[in-house]
Symmetry: C2
Subunit: 366 residues, 2 copies
Amino acid sequence: MGYRDELDTPCLVVHESILRRNVEEMAAFAREHGVAMRPHLKTHKTAEITRMQREAGAIGFTCAKLGEAEALADAGVLDDVLLAYQIVGEQKIRRLLALMDRIKVTVAVDGVEGAAALSAACRDAGKTLDVRLEINTGLDRAGVLPGEPALALAREVMQMPGLRLAGIMTHEGHVAKATNADELAEIATAAGKAMVETADLLRSNGIPVDVVSVGSTPASWYTPTVPGITEMRPGTYVFNDNSAFRFGRIGVDGCSLRILATVISRPAPDRAVIDAGSKTLAMDPPQGRKGHGYIVEYPDAVIARLSEEHGVVLLPPGMQGMEVGERVEVIPNHVCPTINLQDEMFLVRDGEVAETWPIIARGKVR
Amino acid sequence: MGYRDELDTPCLVVHESILRRNVEEMAAFAREHGVAMRPHLKTHKTAEITRMQREAGAIGFTCAKLGEAEALADAGVLDDVLLAYQIVGEQKIRRLLALMDRIKVTVAVDGVEGAAALSAACRDAGKTLDVRLEINTGLDRAGVLPGEPALALAREVMQMPGLRLAGIMTHEGHVAKATNADELAEIATAAGKAMVETADLLRSNGIPVDVVSVGSTPASWYTPTVPGITEMRPGTYVFNDNSAFRFGRIGVDGCSLRILATVISRPAPDRAVIDAGSKTLAMDPPQGRKGHGYIVEYPDAVIARLSEEHGVVLLPPGMQGMEVGERVEVIPNHVCPTINLQDEMFLVRDGEVAETWPIIARGKVR
């Protein structure tokens, strides 16, 4: 029995051949441009793909939350992690110190208060923590501004016992604003240049900057190619998603992960309901396409509305198919939150379920 | 140490006094109007609150997915469930038959194909399954239309061996369209009347209709009061949320569940970042308020953007507070998906963590 009949729905299926090609292509791109690869694990949260990325040449990994790093360290696949996140609060600092006893950890800092708390804890524990300045190159989320503000923070951090300034990093997620491929390249390149200029400014003031790191799958063809960038941290590229379709760089055949779903109701000629709602597809808005996901078999059908357990699909006039009981594969708008909603993914090889991979870092919000 | 310092963040805290008041008030409302109470468990997914609702007089419960019902039956708190969902596919029908051996199960049907598959399976297994017609009173999701279409389907179902037609049900979620309280009451009342008229139509054609069931917390003050409605199935009322604030019926002090979050960055005077992003607050849009949640301590601050692990909060000019390390409580826009993102909730009594409740039906997508 093929995987489409064997599996109960909704569930995550990963097409192994596409997954492996995605992992290898991005690894080759990094090698070609002479930048180190430090993939973000938040996308897949599995030991198996972490191992696959390591075998393809990753020098280490990125996580957002301590809990993700702890889970993957427990699985024995993580020995070097960048926490691309501010670690704030007593409970987390205690866990950070414990994790530092097990694996190499680097942490993002973007302000004096946060850095000072880490410094005090590390000094008291007799440890040295590598930190990177998080630079706001335009996303306006966390991060210190490039140039002089970054220099001022770097000078403060250099004075703090227990910390070693080990580079700078940014997440150029604001490339999502781009409305075409040229604009995307322009925003990404500007972010890369701001990073390199900031690194040079720090160096010219006697502050060593070993690593200049950028991250974001949509920007990954551009930012890492700016001369002076030393590291890239893409995440989504292993699976790709409906947002990756933008501007034609990735097609359906580049999307390795799909939601296998079942049509559970056909209440009207122009309406079908699938068993994947926001509890499966997540509510992230589409970028550049309509609806809450892309139905591979019915590209003209639109997943117009989601409630938690229902996906309401509007069908174009005269469309055949999508009968009750039929199964479809949906490419989610944003693959990362989709993964976080399930306990396992099913690896498909030659049309059969070859392996079940537990999503061991799922739900690690802390 | 109080709960706000003791707990790591982000996490779910439930204020017991508000929770108990919410459970009791809705139970009293049902008693007063002579309708049976069959709460939807998708909101809380816990054994503890299921038990609390039963003690307050619930005659049974509602789940969307089989997996939720299985988990709560395993915990010994569920003996009568309505699956307000189409059960489609061999794997699920097998599980349904197994669940019927353990507890009383009723299933929604809205079409001939789905009902016929259930009928065949039950007939072969020598069982009788109670089904309810799901009626589309305006949400335009699943469901057969009221009146003649419902009658036609009822006639078909009456002929099917292994099935017993046990009533009709609707989810009047389209009250969310309302822009004021009067309009909400009007939409809810119309849905209730369509249900009662449909029940009467079926009865006048010799088809018994024992149960006329409605569900939706925002509509719960209106639809169940329509004469002839026999059952209500609210879910969100135990916690309430940012959407429940609409039209002033519920205030902050009616919201028992909050996300405890920490400020992790203050990158600009008008911007703070909290450690609750879409992986904690979910991406459900607000209804009637701005932003991705309501910060109890800072009602004028707006959670303007979410990425997975970051909530970007815009602060009004001159606002004091929200310093790095400070903790805040956030009422989510839609509490149900928020619950599904965590493994446990913490019960707060007299300012202390009194209990930890595992969210045992979390992630049961199938």
